[in-house]
Symmetry: C2
Subunit: 377 residues, 2 copies
Amino acid sequence: VDPDRLQLVITGELARRRADVMAIDPRLAGMVDLLIGFVSAGGKRLRPEFLWCGWIAGGGTSGDGGNLDGHHGRYRSGDPETPVTAVLTVAAALELIQACALVHDDVIDRSERRRGSPSTHRAMAKVHADAGLAGDSEHFGVSAAVLLGDLALVWADDLYTTGAEALGAVQRSSSTWRAMRTEVLSGQLLDLLATADIGSGPAAQAADAMQVNRFKTAAYTVERPLELGAALAGAPAGTIAALRSFGADVGVAFQLRDDLLGVYGDPSVTGKPAGDDLLEGKRTLLLATARGALGDDPALLAELDAGIGTSGADPVRLAALIADTGAPDLVEQRISELVGSGLAALAAVDEAGRPVINAAARARLTELAHAATARRS
Amino acid sequence: VDPDRLQLVITGELARRRADVMAIDPRLAGMVDLLIGFVSAGGKRLRPEFLWCGWIAGGGTSGDGGNLDGHHGRYRSGDPETPVTAVLTVAAALELIQACALVHDDVIDRSERRRGSPSTHRAMAKVHADAGLAGDSEHFGVSAAVLLGDLALVWADDLYTTGAEALGAVQRSSSTWRAMRTEVLSGQLLDLLATADIGSGPAAQAADAMQVNRFKTAAYTVERPLELGAALAGAPAGTIAALRSFGADVGVAFQLRDDLLGVYGDPSVTGKPAGDDLLEGKRTLLLATARGALGDDPALLAELDAGIGTSGADPVRLAALIADTGAPDLVEQRISELVGSGLAALAAVDEAGRPVINAAARARLTELAHAATARRS
């Protein structure tokens, strides 16, 4: 996806939402601008990338590369750029869903920082304290973050409806949009349950981690955005099946890489403190695998269990303990297998022996599969 | 609206969403059933009532009164009941928006109870504690409530899209759906700001309270549901203008009645402790009016200000203090004026001198205006 065109659509749509809020009450500027700044600055824009690949794989036009000056992402009837702008509007919707997920996740995980800045609830708590407002600053921050996440979520739906309606694609894409949002929230609820359920054995923990990876990450980050793009373009079933198969595998591999980076990543590159996942007590396949391998060494297992989720523990020692079990190598192997099976799915052919994924989409998806699973941040 | 038919659609749609979640992971049953039970039990179903009135005012069919057996709220092509089911599906969407608003509001207000039961975050905290799960029960409860509110919000959008799409009405109704959700969240954010800003004088507080009433309550409870129903039916502009004018006035009157009940309501009827609003520090027109009237009596004003939002204060004394200022009478008078101007708006005629609101809708709206503003609970 052309990052400049995407950014133009995101910025234009957010400016319109901001105007809606300013018409209600200009005193909301500070709160709303915090949300808008977060979405505008953005992260990896991974979901828009996959949505765009699905669109191209489904036979959607990539446009003439022209600029959007003068209509700032709005549709002009008969404009050949209209379909591209409509798809990018749905891409902007995915970024807003992600904004809600991150803002609410940070409340749930009590995270202090996000993308190198204070998390939304921390930033709002600081605004409250600095202004000398009444009441508890921390609770004010959490309250504002809950509502700003909600606002991102309803705006996401508005943008999806706008884009899909402009393409005449509401009927053929709404079941995917529906599934994606129920899946990511179910994955988050499962994550909450799995994190609180520390009594289960390594095998059950590994299964839980993979279930959370599947719904909280893979479906929502890769599989459904690909399917959504393809559905918007009106792709045939074979194309959609291949994209989903690729997305499920590469999506899980993406999360497994995230898990390794959360323990062994370079803090100067990831932007997170070393071993942060260990001290937060995150339930990962990496941890479950290490616990399984330590089964015959109760002393080391007890040491590991005592340190996970304990803020005073030594993350370097815990990371070494896990490394010594060979778990990181097993997870690396799993990533390779998943990327391999994901890429293999792209080679599918239809009854007539024709590839279901066109060359342009396949080339880009191959690049993205490697980028998403071999990254350092 | 026929309460049995509405309930059938709500129950049927929730059962389908539940099945979606069970297909992801059956361990989510407990959490999701808490949300589903909350929506199924319901409150006053006020928003569906107004949506339905807008639909009837806009010329929508009221159906043949037949039953929905056999298709449980699903559309059958060519079925004369299809439009009715579609409108009731949008009504169910309004109930889910309300569920999100209440679940998240209870987190924000730290409310212990809702509709005679523990609030969602309290109920989830109890589940956590009873099951002996790891971590802080209260934070688990808040986290689960944030996610369950999000789930209600995304399901609301799914149901709106399903109903509006079935009526071919996405294009003519989506701007109202969009405005309503941005307005209610903006109203909630404003409420948060107004509650934290205790330094302003009575006039500014009265203006703030009315601004919150307008967006957090009136637009979202009456004005926009009426407009949405009318838009779904393809009503002319004159009908929509009259409905919105009625809705804005009656919606504010509804909130002013709520404010009076929050201080002087019978706890056995309202289900809330006497004077709860005073101890919670809720910023109302009633309170701002009383503070304004006490301006020439600094001692009484200081006593009132010291008690508001203070959990140890005596609500009976505070309620008496406010009553002595005459503020409740002024608020009663305001309610009467608003109901009067709201009902007057329904008498509007078009250029040809014909009523813009038909007799059936006008009769029902007149009933609802009185019921919503003269209620005891």
